[in-house]
């Protein structure tokens, strides 16, 4: 349209008409023409028709393309970014789609906190709501820089409010007024595997359920890890939520050893009647010849589980080697690892080591993980004297036993109460006499001592004072022995003066 117009003789005429009237402003010549009161010759009809035709064709063409491109967006010619997109949405310029990583920078070193190495903390959860408060208090207290810790949870097959409670707790954590409390990336994977096994202590630890349970646990761990591992991670830390006591520096403590896979010793506290404490995690062990021979006799899909009489493997367990006063830095090479608290370099997982959900060299899950790590020539180490404490959950037997004990205790208490009352009565009636006897005895003793001392002072010179003192020290002992010989009731010390 524009070129057509420009070629018309009209423009010149305007200029001409105007320039006469505005001679004083030559620069503005002819640009403005409001009333061209001039004669304009009509162009010949043929020319006019042709021009009209061209204009119509162009109009139709542009309309067609407009419609065509409207309905077929794929064929639109690309003319670069839309100028409006800069104002309306920043999607284009703000969207980052390409990422570069150098895996050599994330191999993991002994002093990760100084090199800002990121840790992925993984925790598989199922019906874990009661333990979450404890777990989060542990999290908050970790001394490793929180911004370098990424949290990943897999919540599956939970029948309680684990998911909602976890979300609330995490939101609360990230809303903490202290920015040093904020963690890095936090992901919650929701995935149900349809596990049939109950999570209560009895069904969880029964021998028959073990192999199947371990395999589905392994599956959950693998899903969690594969979904959460990033090219930025140097370390991966696996932690069960039901750990009751652990040092706040556990990440640094384990990292300092600079091993590919490292686990602490895991024990649990017990009620006094059960011995006060007990090794908990029996999955950290060293391979034995008996176990290897046993493995050869089993079929391909069999899984050896540790800590059951059915498989006597005679393996040295990390748990049983604990010495409460031993050096916490002492290391021990192991082959199977327990899953309560594992620190591993991310490169172990990157190279393909995982938790076998099948029978790998007759082992599954964390024990199979240890075996596979060994197979790929990674160092797998346990710390026998560095202990964390698992929560004590009484088993059904324990609960029954405890109920019985409670009953017994109450009966005993009652009995004791009755006995005491009886004694009180006895005391009330006979007590004054025993008191008198005491007083008299003390008075007699006093008199005897005084008499002795007097005689000694007269006999001995001052030079033998040391001997004297020694004798004096022996004296009360003798008295005591005499009293003890007299019987329990007459012990003077606990008796209140009456």
């Amino acid at each position: 349209m524009l070129p057509l117009h420009a070629s018309s003789p009209k423009g010149k005429m305007h200029r001409h008409a105007y320039s006469s009237g505005h001679a004083a402003y030559p620069s503005m010549s002819g640009t403005f023409s409001i009333q061209p009161h001039t004669f304009q010759p009509r162009s010949p009809p043929s020319l006019r028709f042709r021009r009209q035709l061209i204009q119509r064709l162009l109009l139709a063409g542009s309309l067609f393309f407009l419609c065509f491109f409207y309905f077929v967006p794929d064929l639109r010619p690309n003319l670069g970014f839309s100028p409006l997109s800069l104002f309306t949405s920043n999607e284009d310029t703000q969207l980052e789609t390409v990422r570069y990583y150098d895996l050599n920078n994330v191999q993991g070193t002994a002093r990760g906190w100084e090199r800002e190495e990121r840790i992925l903390l993984c925790a598989p959860l199922r019906d874990a709501a009661p333990h979450l408060d404890m777990f989060f208090s542990h999290l908050k207290n970790l001394t490793y820089p929180h911004n370098l810790i990424d949290l990943a949870f897999l919540v599956g097959d939970s029948k309680d409010n684990t998911l909602t409670k976890l979300s609330d707790k995490l939101a609360e954590l990230q809303a903490d007024p202290d920015p040093r409390q904020h963690f890095g990336e936090i992901s919650i994977m929701e995935k149900d595997f349809g596990q049939k096994v109950n999570q209560d202590v009895e069904s969880r630890h029964g021998f028959a359920a073990q192999a199947g349970r371990r395999k589905s646990m392994a599956q959950a761990r693998n899903w969690l890890l594969s979904a959460a591992l990033r090219p930025t991670h140097s370390w991966v830390y696996w932690r069960d939520v039901d750990v009751e006591t652990a040092p706040t520096t556990i990440l640094e403590d384990l990292m300092r050893h600079n091993k590919d896979v490292i686990v602490p010793n895991v024990w649990r506290p017990l009620p006094d009647w059960l011995g006060g404490e007990q090794p908990y995690d029996l999955n950290s062990w060293q391979e034995s010849d008996t176990a290897l021979a046993l493995a050869d006799t089993l079929d391909e899909d069999a899984v050896i589980v540790e800590g059951y009489a059915e498989y006597a493997t005679w393996r040295p367990h990390l748990a049983y080697l604990r010495d409460p006063y031993g050096d916490p830095d002492m290391e021990m090479e192991i082959d199977g690892v327990g899953g309560v608290s594992i620190l591993a370099k991310a490169r172990v997982f990157r190279s393909g080591v995982h938790f076998p959900a099948f029978s790998f060299e007759k082992h599954a899950e964390t024990e199979g993980f240890g075996k596979m790590a060994k197979r790929m020539k990674f160092s797998v180490v346990g710390l026998p004297h560095y202990t964390i404490w698992h929560l004590y959950e009484p088993s059904v037997d324990d609960i029954r036993h405890m109920e019985e004990m409670e009953k017994e205790r109450k009966a005993k208490e009652k009995e004791e109460q009755a006995k005491k009352e009886r004694e009180e009565k006895l005391k009330d009636t006979f007590d004054s006499k025993s008191g008198d006897w005491e007083k008299e005895k003390a008075a007699v003793q006093d008199m005897v001592r005084k008499a002795k001392e007097e005689s000694k002072e007269k006999e001995k010179p001052a030079a033998e004072l040391t001997k004297n003192e020694a004798q004096a020290a022996v004296q009360p002992n003798k008295d005591q022995k005499i009293q003890e010989a007299r019987g329990e009731d007459e012990k003077p010390k606990p008796q209140p003066a009456q």
Binding site: N78, E91, L95, V98, D102, I186, S187, H354
Partner: protein, 368 residues
């Protein structure tokens, strides 16, 4: 009427109208991506933080904004599907390639894939060698070009990893590459590279993974849909190579990838006699296995949709992400006397996932 009224107009008005017109047209055409972005939003395919799965693009925070704590992100992995109609279900595909050499044909074929590109993420791992540096530079240039090009050609995300190779033996000469002694070390390093790539990029949102070797340069653009349509856990096309037949004086095709096979009794016997750390590989005269190789099952006259059950797979196949998530990886150690991709098929079968092959569906390897 129109010419007359037009003539009456003042040129400046017409000029303004024209500018408006052009402006409108530019705006109209360049804004064409608006039809794509809402679809992308539907999959929830963007992350709001740098700390996010690499299979998702993320929104950069504005520089003047104070960075808040990273958000708590839920991933609903129960809703992740792998079906025979992946496009309709908007299933995301991750294409993984261990890259040692960059071929332009590889990238061109990739761009031609008809699967919606906004559902495709790419992952590469490149060794830190001289050759790797060159491949890296070439790849980077192509990625930059594509990701700033037309929006419907852009991929959802691209992740490029670099890693030192563990063995000094990975010289890629054709002669040296296939020697049996070197094979084990080379394939173990390759297996580790594949695992590193896989486990750092798979993320929580991927449905399918297409393993595509860097030297696969020709395949139908509908490759992903075609393979997914079989709806099996692992499916491998048949890898052939185009070459110039000097006798016939014409281009022809010949079998290339020998790692897609069906096990044989002889191979099982051989394996039983082997030591724990020995591996059994295809294509060596001193170790005849009598396995049925898929490359020799190609029959251009037969049904192109035929599928056969395999026991070992090569480097190019489509796999459901859950197979890898369950733990099936590429063993870098002899696993049932198998290693790398062949070992992968074995491990998958231990986890009850079957491998299949398409003898009559061809993809082509680069001719060196």
């Amino acid at each position: 009427m129109p010419p007359r009224s037009l003539r009456r107009q003042n040129p400046i008005t017409l000029l303004l109208a024209a500018i408006l017109c052009i402006g409108f047209i530019i705006f109209f055409f360049s804004n064409g991506e608006s039809s794509v972005s809402p679809a992308q939003g539907k999959t929830g395919g963007t992350a709001s933080n740098v700390l996010s799965p690499p299979s998702l693009p993320f929104r950069k925070s504005k520089s003047n904004e104070a960075a808040g704590p990273p958000p708590v992100v839920h991933y609903h992995m129960n809703k992740l599907t792998t079906s025979r109609t992946p496009i309709e279900n908007r299933e995301t595909v991750l294409i993984l390639t261990p890259l040692a050499r960059f071929y332009q044909e590889y990238w061109d074929s990739l761009l031609k894939l008809s699967y919606p590109h906004e559902l495709i993420s790419l992952g590469f791992i490149i060794p830190k060698t001289k050759e790797g540096n060159q491949a890296y530079a070439q790849l980077q240039a192509q990625v930059k070009k594509t990701q700033s090009g037309p929006k419907n050609k852009r991929f959802a995300s691209v992740t490029i990893l670099r890693q030192d190779t563990e063995s000094p033996l990975v010289s890629q000469d054709e002669q040296e590459r296939h020697k049996l002694e070197i094979q084990k070390v080379r394939r173990a390093a390759m297996a580790k590279a594949r695992n590193s790539l896989l486990f750092t990029t798979i993320g929580p949102t991927t449905s399918w993974i297409l393993w595509l070797d860097a030297d696969i340069v020709e395949y139908p653009p509908s490759l992903i849909q075609d393979l997914a349509a079989y709806n099996v856990p692992i499916i491998a096309p048949n890898v052939f190579q185009r070459y110039y037949d000097t006798e016939k004086k014409a281009m022809d095709i010949r079998p290339y990838d020998l790692n897609n096979w069906i096990d044989s009794a002889t191979a099982k016997e051989l394996a039983a006699k082997m030591g724990k750390d020995d591996i059994l590989v295809e294509g060596y005269k001193d170790l005849p296995t009598y396995r049925t190789l898929m490359v020799y099952m190609y029959d251009p006259t037969a049904d192109p949709g035929t599928k056969v059950k395999l026991d070992g797979v090569g480097g190019t196949f489509l796999v459901k992400a859950e197979v890898h998530r369950d733990g099936a990886m590429f063993p870098a150690f002899p696993f049932y006397h198998l290693i790398e991709t062949e070992g992968f098929a074995k491990m998958a079968s231990r986890l009850n996932w079957e491998s299949w092959g398409l003898p009559n569906y061809l993809v082509y390897h680069y001719n060196e």
